[in-house]
């Protein structure tokens, strides 16, 4: 999807911030259809405004000020939406980045500071509109910095490594099964084997996937 003036929704609980972002986006040629102060307002706007190309969404918002934006994204994806979403995060957290990208295609994860960089922000909006993935350079730098192969990963079979790579791209078990022409049950047992070999236990399922991908990323260079 590509149009000259992307229709964008800005969601942030800070009034001045979302106003600033709106101005930056407008100046860069976007059409800011609405702004919202929290997740509920965002959902409401989305049902009202069907023709939205992308959402610029702050992760940390009321009520708990932890990961509301990310949860909203996961809810959107769970409801089958392919809307482009650029998440804004105050800190570049690899965990959050992976969770964001794992939610599905058309997702970006940027440091909030980037909003003053109109070019980067609009580029990200356009990328996610087109179903692409954006991860903030600073986070990528963090992920690849240790640059030591992980001994744990060497214990994975080729097939398991393939499954892990697809997990890192954000595929669900079902998606992986389709791509590798395997039964979902087989994929599930591969995933379980990966978790065991990487010694990732007793965490919520989504975290387990994130942690597994973290290890892959850290071993990737």
């Amino acid at each position: 999807m590509s149009r000259e003036h992307p229709r964008v929704l800005v969601v942030d609980d800070g009034l001045l911030i979302r106003e600033g972002i709106r101005q930056v986006l407008v100046a860069a040629g976007c059409d800011v259809v609405a702004v919202a102060g929290d997740v509920a307002e965002m959902m409401e706007t989305l049902t009202r405004e069907s023709d939205v190309d992308a959402v610029v969404l702050d992760i940390r918002m009321p009520p708990t000020h932890t990961d509301e934006g990310l949860k909203a994204l996961e809810d959107l994806r769970a409801s089958g939406s392919h809307l482009g979403v650029v998440l804004l995060s105050m800190y570049g957290s690899p965990t959050l980045a992976i969770r964001a990208t794992a939610a599905g295609a058309g997702t970006g994860y940027l440091l909030k500071d980037r909003v003053t960089d109109a070019d980067m922000l609009v580029r990200a909006v356009r990328t996610v509109m087109g179903g692409g993935t954006v991860v903030d350079p600073e986070v990528v730098a963090q992920l690849v910095s240790p640059a030591h192969p992980r001994s744990d990963l060497r214990r994975l079979t080729d097939r398991e490594r393939e499954v892990l790579r697809l997990m890192a791209e954000g595929s669900s078990n079902l998606g992986i099964a389709g791509r590798l022409v395997l039964s979902p049950k087989t994929v599930e047992s591969h995933v379980a084997a990966i978790m065991t070999k990487l010694r990732i236990e007793s965490v919520r399922e989504e975290h387990r996937r994130v942690l597994a991908v973290l290890r892959l990323l850290r071993a990737s260079e």
Binding site: G20, Q23, V24, L70, T95, V115, A118, I200, S202, V203
Partner: protein
């Protein structure tokens, strides 16, 4: 006493009675002459008597030693030594009195043992005379003794009877046979009076006495009865001038003295045995015993089945071992601590005689209860210190979170807003004809970027936001990511740790990894967490070792942090062989997710 047994005149009660010494009648004088001429024969035939006399002296001496070793009263040993001396002196003086007049007045002193015997009997076993009948008996004996001294000093002169052929008493004020005769009955009658008082005292005590008292006093009572009856009988026969009593009676008197000395020593010994039981109590009490056990031990130690320990319980007054409120008992021994009564040993009235034993028991009860109280106080204040330390750490963590939140909502937002404004301004400037302004605004933007990056790093260091949304494992993974030394992270186990435990583990690992990066020279490290309560944390590296958690050491801060929340830290870090840090952290808040 050369002629006292058994053919001589009655001796024990009135051995120095001048009339008995042969001046009372012609028959007596003849007997005396007979005796003097046959000293050797008497010596032989009276051997049994001498042996018994000597045994009584030795008995008193032994009782003195017993009183010295085991007795409660300080004066008792000396009184008994006095008894031994006066008794022995008495057994020797009779014959000597005929050789030198000086022995006559001195003979008055020899009856000292009577006073001692009375004190021993009525004060048994402690040596303290507290009852009024007892005091009267002692006073009567003392009066008898003193009056007898006076009589012998000034009013007895055996030489008054020419037939006696005795030496003169140099202190005698009068020398008169009749007077000799008249004062003769004096000691005998006083013995009788003392015997009556003793009999009354013993009878009253026996009737009033409780079972434990009787068991202690049975033998002594029998001995006293024997002595008192013999004294009384002698006094009566003397008074009515009847026939000379059987020598057996004198043996009975002598043997009663011996029995009293022996029973006294034995009684003291028995008391020491019960004192040994106090030692048992002390040993048992050392291990901390309950109140029911205190009752049992107290009964054993006192040999008193009615004994019981009553505890003072604040406003409720006295309570027994089961906590039931109990009225103050009639006979009890107070256990005091800091002049305050903390408990009472209720006991049989007779057990009051075991004063020292009671005092020892009371002392061990006091020590134990004070120990318990101190231990409890220490435990409480330690718990308070631990809690307050934990609260401080928790408060510090809360403050960190609040500062981070304030930074996020305040300074960071404001800076970002300012940056957005500058960005908008610089866009306008770019489209205007003022390149100088555009350049200035571009510089401001760059400065703002730097300012925000610094602030972001600062805020990240204050509290890890990832803990809030990603959990401990994700937070530790991110720490490992930022560590220049390749680090593996393993988290196993169920449940989510408490917030305090999470923060503690996070900062401990952060500090540990910083330490590894800075000082260890390691090529790899690992962080392992076993969830649960307590949570176990292990940080391992393959570096140079030599790390220490002691004050000033590289890991001191980490140790403080772990210990502040009630955890434990051990560091194994031999030089050249890497480092293993193990910590356990209490984690008791969240149920398994």
């Amino acid at each position: 006493m050369l002629y006292a047994h058994p053919s001589g005149p009655p001796a024990r009660v009135d051995r120095n009675d001048p009339s008995r010494r042969g001046c009372r009648s012609r028959r007596g004088a003849q007997l005396l002459a007979q005796a003097v001429s046959s000293v050797g024969v008497d010596l032989f035939s009276n051997l049994g008597g001498y042996i018994i006399d000597a045994m009584v002296g030795i008995g008193f001496a032994l009782a003195a030693i017993a009183a010295r070793r085991w007795g409660a009263s300080k004066s008792m040993p000396w009184l008994l030594v006095f008894a031994a001396l006066t008794w022995t002196f008495g057994t020797m003086s009779d014959g000597l009195g005929r050789e030198s007049g000086w022995w006559v007045p001195l003979a008055g002193f020899q009856m000292g043992y009577v006073v001692v015997v009375v004190v021993t009997v009525v004060g048994y076993p402690t040596g303290r005379v507290t009852s009024w009948p007892g005091r009267i008996a002692v006073a009567a004996a003392a009066f008898l003794y003193l009056s007898n001294i006076v009589v012998h000093l000034f009013f007895v002169d055996p030489a008054a009877d020419r037939a006696c052929l005795c030496a003169e008493n140099p202190l005698a004020l009068v020398s008169d046979v009749d007077l000799n005769y008249r004062v003769a009955w004096w000691p005998a009658q006083w013995h009788g009076l003392v015997a009556i008082v003793l009999l009354v005292t013993v009878a009253v005590r026996w009737i009033r006495g409780t079972q434990p008292w009787k068991s202690i006093n049975l033998l002594m009572t029998v001995a006293v009865l024997g002595l008192a009856i013999a004294w009384l009988y002698l006094a009566i026969t003397e008074f009515i001038g009847g026939s000379r009593p059987s020598p057996v009676l004198f043996y009975l008197v002598t043997l009663s003295h011996l029995a009293i000395a022996v029973i006294y020593a034995a009684g003291l010994f028995q008391l020491t045995q019960t004192r040994a039981r106090v030692a048992d109590v002390m040993i048992a009490a050392r291990d901390g015993i309950d109140r029911t056990t205190w009752d049992r031990l107290t009964r054993q130690a006192l040999d008193d089945r009615s004994a019981q320990v009553l505890w003072r319980s604040g406003s409720r007054g006295l309570v027994d071992a089961d906590g039931a409120v109990t009225p103050r008992p009639a006979s009890a021994f107070a256990v005091t601590s800091d002049r305050e009564e903390v408990a009472l040993i209720a006991h049989d009235p007779a057990t009051a005689a075991k004063r020292d034993l009671l005092a020892s028991l009371a002392e061990s009860i006091r020590l134990t209860s004070e120990n318990d109280r101190l231990a409890g106080e220490l435990e409480r204040s330690l718990a308070q210190v631990r809690e307050s330390r934990q609260r401080l750490v928790g408060a510090a963590d809360d403050t960190r979170r609040r500062i981070e939140r304030d930074l996020h909502d305040g300074a960071q937002q404001l800076l970002l807003t300012a940056a957005l404004s500058v960005e908008n301004a610089s866009r306008r400037a770019a489209s205007s004809d003022d390149p100088e302004l555009a350049r200035m605004l571009a510089t401001a933007t760059e400065q703002l970027v730097l300012a925000r990056r610094e602030l972001r790093e600062l805020a990240r260091g204050i509290t890890p936001a990832v803990l809030n949304h990603g959990g401990l494992d994700a937070a530790l993974e991110e720490l490992a990511l930022r560590c220049p030394v390749p680090t593996s992270v393993t988290v196993v186990g169920d449940g989510r740790p408490s917030e305090l435990a999470e923060t503690t583990v996070y900062f401990s690992v952060a500090e540990g990894l910083t330490n590894i990066a800075k000082h260890s020279g390691a090529t790899s490290a690992s962080v392992e967490v076993q969830l649960g309560h307590p949570l176990h944390l292990t940080i391992t590296d393959d570096g140079i070792g030599g790390a220490t958690a002691a004050a000033g050491g590289g890991l001191a801060g980490l140790a403080d942090r772990i210990e502040a929340v009630g955890g434990e830290l051990t560091v194994w870090s031999p030089v050249g062989r890497g480092t293993i840090i193990r910590a356990s952290v209490p984690s008791l808040e969240h149920e398994p997710a």
